[in-house]
Amino acid sequence: MSPVLAGVLQLLALIAALALAYRPLGDYMAKVYSSDKHLRVEKWIYKGIGANPNTEMRWPAYLRGVLAFSAVSVLFLYLLQRLQGSLPGSLGFKAIDPDQAFNTATSFVANTNWQSYYGEQAMGHVVQTGGLAVQNFVSAAVGIAVAVALVRGFARSRTGELGNFWSDLVRGVVRILIPISVIGAIVLVACGAIQNFSGIHEVGQFMGGEQQWNGGAVASQEVIKELGTNGGGYFNANSAHPFENPNPISNLFEIFLILVIPFALTRTFGKMVGSVKQGYAILATMATIWLGFIALMMWTEFHHGGPAFDLAGGAMEGKETRFGIGGSAIFSVSTTLTSTGAVNSFHSSNTGFGGGIDLLGMQLGEIAPGGTGSGLYGMLIMAIIAVFIAGLMVGRTPEYLGKKIGTREIKLAACYILVTPALVLGFTGASMAMDTPKNSMTNSGAHGFSEILYAFTSGANNNGSAFAGLNADTQWFNTTIGLAMLLGRFLPMVFVLALAGSLAEQKPIPATAGTLRTEKPLFTGLLVGTIMIITGLTYFPALALGPLAEGLAS
């Protein structure tokens, strides 16, 4: 079988699996966030944290919940790392430096999972399993909660109430993430991923010399790493490591886990706003971009000319032979288009264009299909912008899902789309203007620039993957990327929740023949165009000096 065919078959299998899961999972999630009943275990948790899950929250209260919970999480994770030396089960690793501990704490709480450390050489069992893995669950649940709050903003009217943050958070973990993770972990273990609490093994290498192998609760962390679009690997090699991702089947399964919730949330959205067609339109937008990017990525990676590449069947540098170009291309596009920082190949070794596709994927704002929750709310913000610009062309002031997009709404949406470009371009610009940060580059020229651009793009968009090559464990990068992750995660949430509150207060406008039909393919096309043009225009100059300069040089 040719590698191209293998890639296409993998893609088809993936699409089939996602299609099968779409309706049941989407409907189930809609039920989870609409039901009045609490499970017994949930009641214990509410009692334990002292929260009343039945009160309705307006947006400021909901936001306070999100921010307070996340602040406590950052603090807890920071302390856990700083105290690692005195904790049991730390495999003898010492406390993490303050700047790196700050970076890692914000990284995991912000659902980014940027890692400026080597997992197997820095983090013991307690921090990995009790700290990082817990955040993998809850940070994902926070993302879904905020998305659900925005959906409620569209679905509800004449009220400012958006639901209860604590109940949304707990249900997301208990009823969605944990059950799927349990099944997923078993599948991964069956594929060959490891799951134990053993220590470090010294193993002899084939070519002589010694090598360290860590044991650990890898499969359980791997599954939520993908399912929660987190990406922080147990090992530095991440999903390229055979303990995390042993074979093509596990590889495909991991991609499935990454995509299943973000895609299915569009069904949840459709259900909750009372029109599954609206959900399909959003799904179609996400899928169009995702498939387009995969096609581009496969094209550029397979068709990379030159004798060595021809022999290997394409650009095989930095890719695992067990996944091939197809499995790597689908993986890297799926992770950069969601906010998953996982990698199974080295993006830095992609062709110039391939690296550019990864970069642009993140720069779109992680919306196709995006992170758990954050993908949906990011896409809905873009839908608002698209409706606002082009919706006027049907001769009515803009409205989406029966809600007017007025001054307040557009102000919040505009603030939302300003955040990440400001962080990415601002910090990258500052880094390039200074001398020291540039010392972290491994490469010179356009590729070196891409390394830094990639780091901030990944951080501010809460992706977490690295271009490799950049030594990010410096005070400058730990701090600035930490800030980029924090602001890139929580500032947009402020605007999303404020927007949700203002939408929920409106009275709905009934749809007529004069209303812009947002469930039609035309709107999907319009939305894709708006996203590509707005993002493309923002980042085109930067991309031109990085991946484009590199890709066009050959």
């Binding site: 062309m393 505009a414 300003l418 470009p421 009934p510 209303t515 923002t538 930067a542 040089a553």
Partner: protein, 717 residues
Amino acid sequence: MTTDTRKQEEPGSMTPTSTATPTRAPHQDVPTGHKPEDGKVGGGLFDPKQLLKSFPDAIKKLDPRIMVKAPVMFVVLIGSVLTTVLAVKDPGDWFGWAIAAWLWLTTIFANLAEAVAEGRGKAQADTLRKAKTDTVARRLSTDGKSEEQVPGTELKIGDLVVCEAGDVIPGDGDVVEGVASVDESAITGESAPVIRESGGDRSAVTGGTKVLSDRVVIKITTKPGETFIDRMINLVEGAARQKTPNEIALNILLASLTIVFLLAVVTLQPFAVYAGAEQSMIVLAALLVCLIPTTIGALLSAIGIAGMDRLVQRNVLAMSGRAVEAAGDVSTLLLDKTGTITLGNRQAAEFVPVSGTTEAEVADAAQLSSLADETPEGRSIVVLAKEKYGLRERHQGELVDAEWVAFTAQTRMSGVDVDGRKVRKGATGSVAAWVVERGGTVTPEAQELTDKISQAGGTPLLVALEDTEGARVLGVIHLKDVVKEGMRERFDELRRMGIKTVMITGDNPLTAKAIADEAGVDDFLAEATPEDKMALIKREQAGGKLVAMTGDGTNDAPALAQADVGVAMNTGTSAAKEAGNMVDLDSNPTKLIEIVEIGKQLLITRGALTTFSIANDVAKYFAIIPAMFAVVYPGLDKLNVMDLSSPKSAILSAVIFNALIIVALVPLALKGVQYRPMSADKMLRRNLGIYGLGGLVAPFIGIKIIDLIISLIPGLR
């Protein structure tokens, strides 16, 4: 600008109406030069000379305090100043001068668009000012006995003033005593005089109009300086213009895009330095101006002014831009039956005989008895008799010794006594009483016939005769409301646009339903009281709909105020005009449909130019980025798909295109994009094709052409 149909209106409204007695004076359909059937909003005229004429105003608008209100163009202004300073520092560089010059032109072109839009209102304002010459008022003392001469500007609310033939009315007010014919041409452009009388719905007078006959006492209701004419001047001049909600929202989005591009350009310098291709400030300023949405930023306020202006050209005054915007969003139209959907009056449709008489006999009697009825209904009977039964119209003078019984609102019948025969026609009750009085009986058959007509939505009139055989009913005249031509198509169109039409009438539900079905409206409100109307509006609004209506009476005022778009007729009371957010100077309620279309056209124009503006940027990147960086990364020259002659020419071409496109689009901004009623889907597809794809492609061609021209100029390399 209007024709003489109004002449018929005034006498008509003065005489008591026929049996149908509409509660309001019938409205006349005044043609405005736009046939209702063509269903399309035409544009105003645009004369390129206006560009030149408005040039000085455009320069005056360069004041930074004014410019700062439009954030996008303010950035361009800063860019112009910056590049000029840089050009002065390095006077030998033609490129710096060229960029600076074109950035200034970009700014001026934007101001020019606004100035041209405003200029069109100025002419109209000047005409109005002439009407507002200082008048001397004859104020009545409080006891009403003595008069004193005071300047019109010193009048207070509540003052009583006297106006006689030849006087200019000194201020807005209501007639409290007397009847007069008034020339309102200063405001409406309509030369035929209108009648203003105390009490009722025709008491309002406007300052600046002229009394032509008789004497009236007017109670002043508005302070000098705030009169209708003052407000009109402000409106047409644009002085009172405030940004509309959607315009503000769009401005916010444009500002945020400007910030994004500012970031992209500012951070580009460190990237460029690293790449070894440091850029001059001039190039960066040029890039920034090309990227920020200058096209829509420049034309946004002109589009708004032009939208108001299009209403003014149709003799509609919108008191706020917000109302024009709301008009585009309207989803329910409340239309008065009389004058809007039907011609003002009922017309005879057939003559139905009782057994024992023929149709021709009824027609003859009906014609004879209607000769003394000057109401439109009476005239229509004579016309029907002539057209359908070939009965020559007889004149009152032809019959000697005839004793004519004229129609009055009290008797509600008319007729003639001639040759010992007495014929009468009129309201069923009156004629039946007349027959019974004379010893006749009204047969059950006649009763049945009238009931049938009533049930079909018509109005029955009885025709009776008294001769030697005694008094008896001959037959029944069927009066029908006549639906205006083309209304059904119009309503179909509105339905396709997603607008629901509700007919409002004082008729009983049966009659209302028949007319509603015939006209093709979606719904009707029968036996409507002002309270019913109000309740209907609130109900629609509670469902999230925006409602538009017309009205003229004082009891319409609350509903006009409640409606999202309330169009008051200029003939109406001042209370109605105060309550509505638009005034139609032609007092033509059908115009409501046009107002909705103008509102939509305004929004579409705004959206189309925004889309065009943003789509334009793609090509500019393809021109500028290779020009900036192909030196260090030769591969980037592959992006130079337009094959522009040199880096400097590429950047300059993009800047020139960016400036010229503003001027090129000024006519479109002023006229509005072509609008035809169609569903939202079709409209979006069409406009996305033209302005979205067009916006992507046009600059590639435009920049290439400009580059070709520049490359022909020797010495520019």
